[in-house]
């Protein structure tokens, strides 16, 4: 499937150390671009710094060095609607029911758009449920719908489905693929398991095992 040549997102020479002086270098010199409509996989062993990079990408963590560019604008340590992150942990607002959760994320409260998104992630019928009344998989779907509701330039999914049992996980990846085909959202998909990326990602950015973590290689995946 054709992907535009237009770069929407870029990590430029990002390095990160936790703690001011003596801290250990976690990420070193990470640079890669993501093109409009592309789904890029980011893989690496547990603890190598994937979530840290995701947080840097979303502007929540200020990298020790380097920049985050969105549409050419420097958005380093600037959270905005341009980048939406679905955290590895549960990050739903527990006080908002499914429908409200989506309406809240939309720029303008638009009930029919909320309906669309809810049905896109197969949560129709659960509009009046609180997150704690949903199953683990449903919560992930809701987080996905909420991320799409933000209508970001880049949607980062950090190990979104890893905590689920493998059947459910592959169902969700298949749905994600269908959703991507419909919405053409630009995605950075983070996982420790390259297998998750099959028939989903255009490219895979492989990170090394750490101390510090670097990019090992960037592989083009078989055409979707």
């Amino acid at each position: 499937m054709a992907v535009s040549r237009l770069t929407v997102f870029e990590f430029r020479k990002v390095s990160h150390t936790f703690g001011e002086n003596a801290g250990a270098l976690v990420l070193e010199d990470i640079s890669f671009e993501i093109r409009e409509g592309e789904c890029v996989g980011l893989t690496g062993p547990s603890g190598c710094g994937k979530s840290t990079l995701a947080q840097i990408g979303a502007g929540f963590v200020t990298p020790s060095r380097g920049e985050v560019l969105v549409d050419g604008r420097n958005l380093t340590s600037t959270p905005s609607r341009a980048v939406a992150l679905i955290h590895q942990e549960l990050d739903l607002f527990p006080w908002l029911k499914v429908e409200k959760q989506i309406l809240f994320a939309l720029q303008k409260a638009d009930t029919s758009r909320a309906k669309e998104l809810i049905s896109l992630v197969k949560l129709s019928g659960f509009e009046k449920y609180y997150p704690n009344q949903l199953s683990g998989g449903m919560k992930k779907r809701l987080a996905l719908a909420r991320g799409l509701a933000i209508n970001p330039k880049l949607l980062i999914l950090d190990e979104s489905f890893s905590s689920l049992d493998s059947n459910l996980k592959y169902d969700l990846y298949r749905d994600l693929r269908l959703i991507w085909e419909k919405t053409k959202t630009t995605i950075l998909l983070i996982t420790h398991d390259s297998k998750d990326l099959q028939s989903l990602a255009h490219r895979e950015v492989k990170l090394s095992a750490g101390k510090p973590t670097r990019i090992v290689e960037i592989v083009e995946m078989p055409a979707l």
């Binding site: 979303a58 609607r81 955290h87 607002f93 006080w95």
Partner: protein
């Protein structure tokens, strides 16, 4: 039992209940507002020991210790009763609101920041609902503190209410009637507590409790 007709008992109960409700309501409004605003202070100000002292030290003198000053400023009457209840209920509500606001998980804050929610909207739409479970804990404790405070205030300077009734019965050495008062104070305290639990379940059904 000539002095203790049912009407007097009922009126004394109602007086005390009215005082605690007004005082706790005021304490809830101010405790939540000030607690939330405190959490919005810049990190440097929040961490300042002197600022901490200013917020923390006034919690320690018990409501009963304030009674002479309150009477001095507000005289003997309803206003003083409300103020004493307020003093008793404010601290737990204020403290739990502040602590609730401070312990909102980072992922929740991040998502809100990513949606570009800022300022008062951030306080009202994110921090406040996220802190509600702890705020309710504060109100439950606060209503109990307020209830104890109003009884103490009525014993010292009341003209009515269950605390006043205890004092009168003490002077008349009617220990059986005093016992009735004590039991009523316990029962009403329990009902107040249960009312807050009921409200909590109505207002934040998404927060599971087994109370």
């Amino acid at each position: 039992m000539e002095y203790y007709d049912l009407t007097t008992v009922a009126l004394n109960c109602l007086y005390s209940i009215e005082r605690v409700l007004v005082g706790v309501l005021m304490a809830t409004v101010f405790g939540i507002s000030i607690g939330l605003l405190r959490s919005m202070l810049p990190r440097k100000v929040k961490g300042n020991k002197l600022i901490k002292l200013l917020f923390e030290a006034p919690k320690f003198p018990p409501p009963i210790a304030w009674i002479p000053f309150v009477i001095l400023f507000f005289g003997i009457g309803e206003i003083s009763a409300y103020v004493i209840v307020f003093i008793g209920a404010f601290s737990p509500i204020f403290t739990s609101t502040y602590e609730g606001a401070e312990s909102v998980p980072m992922v929740i804050r991040n998502i809100a920041r990513g949606m570009e929610i800022k300022g008062l909207r951030y306080l009202w739409k994110i921090i406040f609902p996220a802190a509600l479970p702890q705020i309710f804990t504060g109100i439950r404790v606060g209503v109990g503190m307020g209830w104890m405070s109003v009884i103490a205030a009525e014993m010292i300077s009341g003209q009515s209410g269950l605390g006043y009734s205890i004092q009168i019965n003490r002077l008349n050495m009617q220990y059986d009637l005093m016992t009735v008062d004590i039991v009523l104070i316990g029962l009403i305290g329990f009902l107040l507590f249960e009312t807050i639990v009921f409200l909590q379940k109505k207002i934040i059904p998404w927060h599971e409790v087994t109370m």
